[in-house]
C-alpha cells in the first residue's frame, strides 16, 4: 500500500557541483517517489533547476561579502524567530558556547532550517553531519554515510584531534549509518559506530553506460594501463609510476594514462620525469564520464595504487567496462576484487609486487580476458545502480520509522 504522503527527504552538507555518484543517487531517489530537498550554499546549476521532486534550500554562503552574509543571516534568523520560535530556541541553544563569530556561523548554518520538517535527513558525508550537527535538534531521524577519508585518514591527523569525538556524537544521534564497504564499517566501529546501526551498501555504477566496447580493440603489442583518481597523495600515484618503471625495465612495453587532476599534479609530473617515463605516461586531466568510458575501453588493465580507499568507484567503472584490475589491498577493495578472479590484489606501498602482477597480465592476454569478463559479471551481480537505489530506499524508509 503506497503512502498517501510522499516521503520528504533533506540532503544536507553537500556543495555544487555534486559528485557523480551522489547525483545518480538523488535522481534515483526522486524517481522512486521521494520529495528531495537539497540544502547548499550556492544556487544549483541550471540543469538541476527544473528537476521534478527536487527542491532547494539556500544557506547564506560563508564566503560572500560580509554585508550580504550578515543581511542574509539576519533575514533567516528573523524568519525563524517568528515562524518557528521553538526551533529558534533550540538552534540558539546549540550556538551557545562559542564566541560571537562562532555563534553567528551557527545561526547562519541552522536558522534556514527552522520550522521545516522532513521524514529524514541524509548526510552523504560525515563532515557534513559534523558541520550541521545542530540539525539533530529538529528531531527528524538522520542517516549518515561513511565513504572514506573521514574515517580512514582524518582521525589519524594530529591537527584534527577533536574529530574522533565529533564522529562519535554523530554516530550516537544517527538512526542508521550507511557504509560503502565492510572495511569502513569495521574501521568506524572504533569511533563509536554501533554495528547494529550500520548498513553496508556498496557504491554502484550504471552497467548500461559503462559497458565494454561493442567490438574489442584490435590485438596489439604492449600493455595499456589506465587509472582514474584525483592527483592527491592518498591515490599513491608515485607507487604506480614506480611500478611502471620496473615493468618497463623488465622489458614490457607498458603505457599509462592517468585521468584526474588535483593539488599534487606537480608531484606526479615530477615523478614522471624523474623516472624517465615522459614518453609513456600521459596526464589526461579531469574528463567527462563519456570520455572516461572511451579511455577505459581502449585500455588493457586498470591500476589502483591507493594507500587508502573506502571502495573505489573508479575501479568499479573499469570493471563494468570489462577491464581486469590490479589493485592495492586497501579499504574495501578486496570486497570488489578477489585475487585471481576479477584481477590481482597486491600489498599497499609495494611497487615491486605491483610490477609483478602487471607483468603476469602483460604476458597472458587470455588471463586478462578471463578476469575482465569476471569483473563485468561481478559488477552486474554486486554493483548495479538499480539494486543500489532499492537498497537506499529501504535503508532510508526503515530509518525514518525508528
Amino acid at each position: 500500500m503506497a503512502d498517501p504522503q510522499p516521503f520528504r527527504l533533506l540532503i544536507a552538507g553537500v556543495s555544487w557541483p555534486l559528485e557523480t555518484f551522489i547525483t545518480r543517487l538523488i535522481h534515483g531517489l526522486a524517481a522512486a517517489g521521494m520529495e528531495v530537498t537539497i540544502a547548499s550554499k550556492k544556487n544549483p546549476p541550471p540543469d538541476w533547476a527544473a528537476r521534478q521532486h527536487v527542491q532547494f534550500l539556500r544557506i547564506p554562503a560563508a564566503n560572500s561579502p560580509w554585508p550580504v552574509r550578515l543581511l542574509h543571516t539576519g533575514l533567516v534568523t528573523v524568519r525563524a524567530l517568528f515562524r518557528a520560535p521553538g526551533d529558534f530556541r533550540r538552534f540558539a541553544a546549540n550556538a551557545e558556547g562559542g564566541g560571537w563569530h562562532a555563534r553567528l556561523q551557527c545561526y547562519r548554518r541552522l536558522m534556514p532550517f527552522a520550522g521545516k520538517r522532513w521524514n529524514l535527513i541524509y548526510f552523504p558525508w560525515n563532515s557534513g553531519a559534523i558541520m550541521f550537527d545542530g540539525l539533530f535538534e529538529l528531531r527528524c531521524p538522520v542517516v549518515v554515510s561513511c565513504r572514506g577519508s573521514q574515517i580512514n585518514l582524518a582521525p589519524h591527523d594530529p591537527n584534527r584531534a577533536q574529530l574522533r569525538e565529533a564522529l562519535a556524537t554523530t554516530f550516537r544521534h544517527a538512526a542508521a549509518v550507511h557504509c560503502v564497504s565492510e572495511a569502513i564499517r569495521n574501521e568506524a566501529t572504533q569511533y563509536g559506530l554501533d554495528p547494529a546501526k550500520a548498513r553496508v551498501i556498496h557504491p554502484a555504477v550504471d552497467p548500461d553506460f559503462f559497458q565494454p566496447a561493442a567490438t574489442p580493440p584490435p590485438a596489439r603489442a604492449g600493455l595499456r594501463l589506465i587509472t582514474t583518481g584525483s592527483l592527491v597523495w592518498v591515490k599513491g600515484h608515485e607507487y604506480a609510476l614506480s611500478a611502471v618503471r620496473r615493468l618497463v625495465d623488465r622489458g614490457v612495453d607498458a603505457r599509462l594514462d592517468i585521468i584526474g587532476d588535483g593539488e599534487e599534479r606537480a608531484r606526479v609530473l615530477y615523478t614522471i620525469h624523474d623516472l624517465n617515463l615522459a614518453d609513456r605516461v600521459r596526464l589526461l586531466g579531469r574528463l567527462h564520464p563519456e570520455a572516461v568510458r572511451d579511455r577505459l575501453r581502449e585500455a588493457d588493465v586498470f591500476v589502483l595504487s591507493s594507500v587508502s580507499e573506502g571502495i573505489s568507484n573508479a575501479a568499479i567503472e573499469a570493471m563494468a567496462c570489462g577491464l581486469p584490475v590490479v589493485t592495492t589491498d586497501c579499504g574495501g577493495m578486496s570486497e570488489a576484487v578477489s585475487h585471481g578472479v576479477e584481477g590481482l590484489v597486491v600489498p599497499v606501498r609495494d611497487p615491486e609486487a605491483m610490477a609483478g602482477a602487471l607483468a603476469a597480465l602483460a604476458a597472458d592476454p587470455a588471463l586478462r580476458a578471463k578476469l575482465g569478463r569476471a569483473a563485468r559479471e561481478r559488477v552486474l551481480r554486486q554493483f548495479d545502480l538499480k539494486h543500489q537505489i532499492k537498497s537506499f530506499v529501504t535503508l532510508l524508509t526503515d530509518a525514518a520509522r525508528k
Binding site: N159, W233, A266, R267, L269, H273, L283, V307, S308, R349
Partner: protein, 409 residues
Amino acid sequence: MKIALLVPSFPKLSETFIVNQFLGLLERGLDVHVVCQHSLAAEWARFPRLLARPDARRRVHVCWPHEPRWRAAFLLPAAVACGAARRPSGVARYLRRGASERGVDVLRRFYLDAELIRLQPDVLHFEFGALAVGRMYLKDWLGCKVVVSFRGYDLNYVGLDDADHYREVWERADALHLLGEDLWRRARRRGCPADKPHSLIPPAINAEFFDPGPRQHAETAGIASRPLRVLSVGRLEWKKGYEFALQAIKLLKDRGVVCDYEIVGDGDHLEVAAFARHQLGLEKEVRLPGPLPPSQIKERMLAADVLLHAAVSEGFCNAVMEAQAMRLPVVTSDADGLPENVVNGGTGFVVPRRDPAALADKLALLAAQPSLRQQMGEAGRQRVLKQFRLTDQVSAFEQLYARVANRAA
C-alpha cells in the same frame, strides 16, 4: 654597488640560508637589501642575529599589499608619488620603458615593483628561479643586472610541462647561481645554453653554531635496551619522501632492529606521515613533534645516532649539512644535490631514491657499528669545515656580484 635580494617572505626558518647570505654580505660592508612580499614579526623573533643588527630591519623592504585589489587601486597614487619624490629619474625610466612595452599595464607593474623602483639596485638577485619568470623586464626597466638562483624545486617541477617556462631567464639573466652540478645539468636539460655565465655556490651553514664539541658514538644500537635513534629534519612535504623513510623504519622493525624515529618539521604532509605511521604500525616508534627552533634541532642532533633524509627531490639540503657539522652520520637518498652534499661511504650513505630497503640496510649497518658512526661523524664535520663554510660562500657571492656589475651591458 647596491644589491637587492628578492624573496617571497623574509625571514623564514626554513630559509635560514637567505638570512645567512644577507648577514654575511652585510658584514662584508656590501650595500645589500632584501625585498619581499611578507615579513612576519613572529619570524623575526626567531633570528637573534638579525635583531642584533639595528640596520638589518631598515634594509628589509616589504612590497605594497596586493590584496584586496580595491585597496591596491587606492594605494597606487601613493606608491607613484613616493617613488617619484625619491627617485625621479628611476621612475621616469621605468614608466617610459614600461609604457612602450606594455602600455597601461605598466601602472599595475609599477605598483608591484614600487619598492624596487625606489631602491634602484645595481644587481637584482632573484633567490628562486620561479620568482624570475615573467619579471625579466625589470632588467631594462630598472636598468640593473640580474642574477637568478636555482635551488631545486624551481628546476625540478615548476613549469615542467611548459618547454619554454624559463626561456626568458636563460636569454636575459646576466648570471645564474646554482647550488651544484646536478642543478646545472637540470638547467641545461631544460634549455639553458651551456655557455650561460653561472656560478656553482653550494649553500653554507654556521659551523660555529652547529658544533657538537667532541662526541662519542660508542654503543651498539638497535636493540630493545638501546634503540637506534633516527632523526629527520625538514618540512613535511611530498618531496621530502617521508613515506619511504617510514617504510624503511618498518622494514627494520620487521628485521628486529629497534628504532626510535623522530621527524622534526611542519607542513601539509603531516597527515600523510601520521597516516603512514598508523598504517605501518609504527605509533610507538615514530614521533612527530612539529617544527623546532635551531637550538633544539641542535640538541636533537646531539642525541641522535643517524640523520635520515629520504627525499625524492632536494636542491641540496641544509639539514644534512648541519647534521654532518654535528658529527652525525647521514643516510640519504640520491635526489639531486644530495650526492654532492654527502660523501657516500665517507660521511654517510647515499642510496637510490624511493628505495626503503636500501635505506634500511644502511641504517642497520650503522646501528651495528658504532665505530663506523664515529668515523663518518668525524669525516662529516671535517667536510663541512672544508667545503661549506659561510665565509667562502659569502666571498663567492661577492665575486659573482662584482663580475656581473662590471660586465659591460
